[in-house]
Structures are given as C-alpha cells and as structure tokens.
C-alpha cells in the first residue's frame, strides 16, 4: 500500500484514473442498458433485410413493392408484426387465389421467415407487436370472465363456443377450436379481413387472455357427452329427425313383421 500511496503523485496517475473511470462507466452502462438489445437490434437489421427480400418475392405482387398497397391488396404500412404473424403463420397469406376470404392452409414460410417478414413490415410503421408467451397463456386467464366477454363481443359471429359461423357472400367466421392462442390474440388486436379490431382499450390484454382461457376450455370434452359440433338446433335437429326417427320407424317395422 505504501508503494501505491507514494505513486499517487506520479504524473501518469491522472491518466490511469481517467482510464479506470471510463472503464467503470462502460461496465455500469453495459449493465443498465443490457447487451441483448444491441444484439437483437443487429439481428433485426438482418431480419429486416431478409424480410424485405421475402416480401418482394412473395407479397409485393398484391401489396406493392413498398407495401403501399394496390388494387389487389391493402397497404401494410402500420399493420404491425402481429398482423403479419397472424396471416402468415396461419397460412392465410400468401393467398393462393383471389376469393371472398383467405382460408387457413399449411403455412408457406418457416417460423424464422415469418419473423423476418414481420420484422420488415413492423419497420415500415408502428403497429401492434406479437404477444409474448405469457400474454396468451390460457392457464393464467379466467375462463368465466372470458365467457362473458366472448359472448358479448365474439359469439355473434364465431358461435357461443367458438365453433364458427357464416357471414355474407361466401365470407365466414372460422372455427376457433384449433386456433393457437397467439393467433386468437393477434386476430383480436389486428382485426384481420372481415373481423373488426378489438384494441386494448376495448378488451384489455388481461381480458384477451381470459377470452383465450375460455376458448381453450371449450376444447375439453363436454360433460354432457357428444356436442355434435356445438352448432345448436341445426345438428341436434338433424340427429333427431334422421337418426332418431329412423330408428323409431325401423323398430315399428320390426314389431309388425312376422317371425320367420
């Protein structure tokens, strides 16, 4: 310690101190502003470039070379990553042919390619981002509260248990029985195709998770036995009139027939 104390008047001491202070500042900065963000941003830039290439090759025909929209497709500026993730990971986009509605089909892009496309479209303008795992975890939601919200806001088109239903001129509200929770969340947030937007002021993120919990609970087998698709009087009536009355007629014929 004596040597250290003696050397503090050394003419290089201030330089050393400044260097130490700079080092400490750097260490503290790197702890306050975490490194992963810098890494993510770097990856994002790559993603955006990849996404742009994919976009130009696969989407620009309809949505325009700069995603500005055209006669065949809407502008994608400001739709956000959530809309891209919903449309592409559910296979709705790219559309195979023009029609009243883009149907669900096997996804055309890998998860990484979808993320790259989402990053590119998100870079065009601010929009809703992809929800985290926790935001769409049905086990964290309240299915009873979700039921009330679903039946007020969603059931009119998607049926009381999410079995889907018809709209006008070939459009329809799809069944939600197999839809992944993240897609349910993104659909509410972005309002794809005919569906209206349910933003966070209308249905808060917690309430959206409740809705997801309710829908996932409908996938359990029902306590009452066969649900016949949950379609109400249509399928139940068909069952009773065709199978039920058919069995009754068969029994009546058997009762009246003579034994051989």
């Amino acid at each position: 310690m004596k040597a250290l104390a003696a050397s503090r008047r050394h003419r290089l001491a201030p330089v050393l101190l400044v260097l130490l202070a700079l080092l400490a500042t750097g260490v503290v900065y790197s702890m306050i502003a975490p490194a992963p963000k810098a890494v993510a941003e770097a990856a994002n830039a790559d993603d955006i470039a990849t996404g742009e290439a994919l976009f130009v090759a696969n989407c620009a025909t309809c949505h325009g070379i700069n995603a500005q929209g055209g006669p065949a497709g809407p502008s994608l500026i400001g739709v956000g990553a959530a809309a891209v993730d919903f449309q592409v990971s559910s296979g709705r986009m790219p559309m195979s042919s023009n029609g009243p509605q883009a149907p669900v089909k096997p996804p055309q892009f890998t998860g990484e390619q979808t993320a790259a496309l989402a990053a590119y479209v998100a870079s065009l303008g601010p929009g809703p981002s992809i929800p985290t795992e926790e935001m769409v975890d049905p086990t964290l939601g309240n299915a009873a509260a979700g039921m009330e919200l679903f039946r007020t806001n969603c059931g009119q088109c998607h049926n009381a248990v999410g079995a889907g239903g018809a709209l006008s001129e070939g459009k329809y509200a799809p069944s939600l029985m197999d839809t992944p929770p993240s897609e349910i969340y993104e659909a509410m947030l972005t309002g794809p195709q005919s569906m209206p937007v349910f933003n966070d002021a209308n249905i808060t993120p917690e309430e959206k998770r409740d809705v997801i919990a309710y829908l996932v609970a409908q996938r359990e087998p029902a306590a009452g036995g066969l649900t016949l698709g949950g379609l109400g009087p249509v399928s139940e009536g068909l069952w009773v009139w065709v199978v039920g009355i058919g069995l009754l007629i068969g029994s009546a014929i058997w009762l009246g027939a003579k034994s051989s």
Partner: protein
C-alpha cells in the same frame, strides 16, 4: 265402405264400378293360410329363440346393475372427465337396461308365444233400444229430482258460480303475460344528454381516441348496472359503436352531426324482430343480424341493404365531453327494436 253393407266372413264385398255405378262383387279373400314358424316345427330353433331372449334379458339385467354400481363406484371429483364418465355409465346402463328388456319381450312374443290368427268380430257400436231409453229416463229422473226447472234462482247460482270458477286461473295468466301494458316505455331508453357510453360488460367509459378505425364496441349507458330494472333497461339501450374512415361517410347526410369523426353508434336491436345485430364485417361496413340475415350499411345511416328488416337501425347521436369521453347527445329519436301496433301514434 258404406254402412249399409256389413260384409260377413266369406260373403261378397261390393265395390262401386268406376263408370257404370253398378256394384261389382268379388269373394272376400279371407286370411292367408297359417304358416308355422321355425320355432313351431323345429325344437332346436325354439331352443335358440329362447336362448336369444334369455341373453337379451341378461344383458338388460347386467346393464341395470352396472348403472347402479357405476353410480356408487365412480367418484365425482370436480373434473369434467369424471362427470362425463358418470353420466355415460348411467345413460348406457339405463338405455341398455330398457332396450334389452324391450327387445327380449318382443322377440319372445314373436318367436315363442302363440301366433295363431283369430278373428274378433266387431260388435255394433249402437246400444240396444232398451238401454238407450233407460239412459234417457235416468237423465230425466235426475233433472226432475234436482228440481232445477222449478228453482230458477238455483239454476242462476249454479251457472254463475261455474262461469266464475276458472277466473282465478285465467286472470293472473293473462295479466302476467305482458307484465304491464304501458307501451310508452317502448319509446324511451336510458340514454340522456351527456350520459357516457361504456363498454359492456365492464362498464368502462370510452374515450373517442381509443376507438380505432375498424373496431366495434358493445356499449351500454354508463352506470346502468346500478339502476333499477337493469336488465329491462339494458335490453332497450344496448348500442354498437363502430368507427369508419370519415371519408366513407356522406358529410351532407341528414344526421351527419350524430357521428363524431367517423364514430357511429347504432341500436343493437334489429328492427325486424329484435335480435342483437352485432355481426360486423369491417371491410364492407355491414352489420348483420344473426336471426334472419338482415344487413345494414353503417356508412349509409344503417339502411337495410338485405333481408326482412324494414327500417334502418336507430342511430344514437353522440358527441365528446370535456375529458374526451364519448357521450350521448340525447335519447334515440325513434323507438328502438321491432315495430309494434302503437309505434306511429
């Protein structure tokens, strides 16, 4: 077959010829010759039929016992799967118990019990003249004995009491049908000038800035759930709120000032028979009714573009208060929902 001809066994049967009006006669074919069944002529077939009936009875008995055992053995914890299993056991047991019993009884009767054809002759439905005269005399004697012809006051009392007796059933039944008959309630809703629009069911007031283009909000008057007759009032006052691009709206429309910057509020109750109109296609701006597919164009004052509804959905005039929340400018200017007899008076 006319009542004049009562064909006896083996006698000719008359059928009126199509053109001549004369009667053609033919022999009554009678019954088919009796054909013995397998079980009647073949002892092993009879044995087999017996075994089959016994098997069916046994299935029925086992199923009944199974259902009872299942009722006690299957624990009902709070899971859907246990309820499902218990219901399934009870239902299958009960169903097979009944079905097996029924099938066995019918099979037994058809294969083993006597199947010899026999004829039960129909007897006259008309009683003999003596019986008829006796019955008439009995009624006359009873009337004379009661003295109802001689005592008009008693007659009036009986008729009056009989006529009044059903009233305690009928009056409450009819009275409860409508609750009350004050149709003026159908003309007004809970909307007042300055009342905020709130999200159904959370009762959160809505800021105009929070309503993005393309959204739909299910709306009720703020604080309604605290009020008396909440459900009746809500049934009249429910509203759907949508926002469209203001450029889609006609600025010179009659009620252009009822909207706020592309935000439009319409009654949720269909003008056809009152179903909730809430299927919204945000790309075409059409509101659909789920019951009979009436379609309303929200950019054109909710005019009917398809379906059986005859009138546009009533529009709720809205504005924004000092804090930026959406408020009603007043009540609807016409009764909401389907037509009723006194609507135009």
């Amino acid at each position: 077959m006319s009542s004049k001809q009562t064909p006896a066994q083996g006698a000719g049967v008359g059928v009126r010829g199509r053109d001549s009006g004369t009667l053609e006669r033919f022999e009554n074919p009678g019954l088919h010759p009796h054909k013995p069944r397998q079980a009647d002529i073949n002892a092993s077939a009879a044995k087999r039929a017996e075994r089959q009936a016994v098997t069916l009875f046994a299935i029925s008995a086992l199923a009944s016992v199974g259902a009872v055992v299942g009722y006690f053995m299957i624990p009902l914890d709070q899971t859907v799967a246990s309820v499902r299993l218990s219901n399934l056991t009870l239902g299958v047991g009960l169903g097979l118990g009944m079905l097996g019993f029924g099938l066995a009884a019918v099979h037994w009767a058809k294969t083993l019990m006597s199947d010899v054809e026999r004829i039960d002759e129909r007897h006259d439905q008309r009683g003999s003249d003596e019986t008829r005269a006796e019955a008439v005399q009995l009624l006359k004697d009873g009337a004379a004995d009661s003295g109802i012809a001689r005592r008009p006051l008693l007659k009036g009392a009986v008729v009056g009491a009989l006529a009044l007796a059903p009233l305690p059933f009928i009056v409450p039944l009819v009275g409860n049908l409508g609750g009350d008959w004050d149709v003026s309630k159908l003309r007004h809703t809970a909307w007042r000038k300055g009342r905020r629009l709130a999200i159904d069911p959370t009762d959160t007031p809505i800021r105009a800035a929070d309503v993005t283009v393309g959204s739909i909000f299910s709306v009720m008057p703020e604080g309604l759930s605290e009020e008396e007759h909440y459900l009746e009032e809500k049934a009249k006052a429910v509203v759907v709120l949508v926002r469209v691009d203001p450029r889609e709206l006609d600025e010179n429309a009659e009620h252009a000032d009822w909207a706020y910057d592309g935000i439009l509020a319409f009654s949720k109750i269909c003008t056809h028979v009152g179903c909730p109109v809430a299927l919204y296609e945000q790309q075409t701006h059409h509101l659909l009714c789920p019951c009979h597919q009436s379609t309303f164009d929200v950019t054109d004052g909710a005019k009917v573009v398809f379906g059986p509804a005859k009138r546009p959905l009533p529009q709720l005039p809205i504005a924004v208060d000092d804090e930026g929340y959406l408020v009603a400018q007043g009540d609807f200017d016409e009764p909401v929902g389907p037509s009723f007899w006194e609507r135009l008076k």
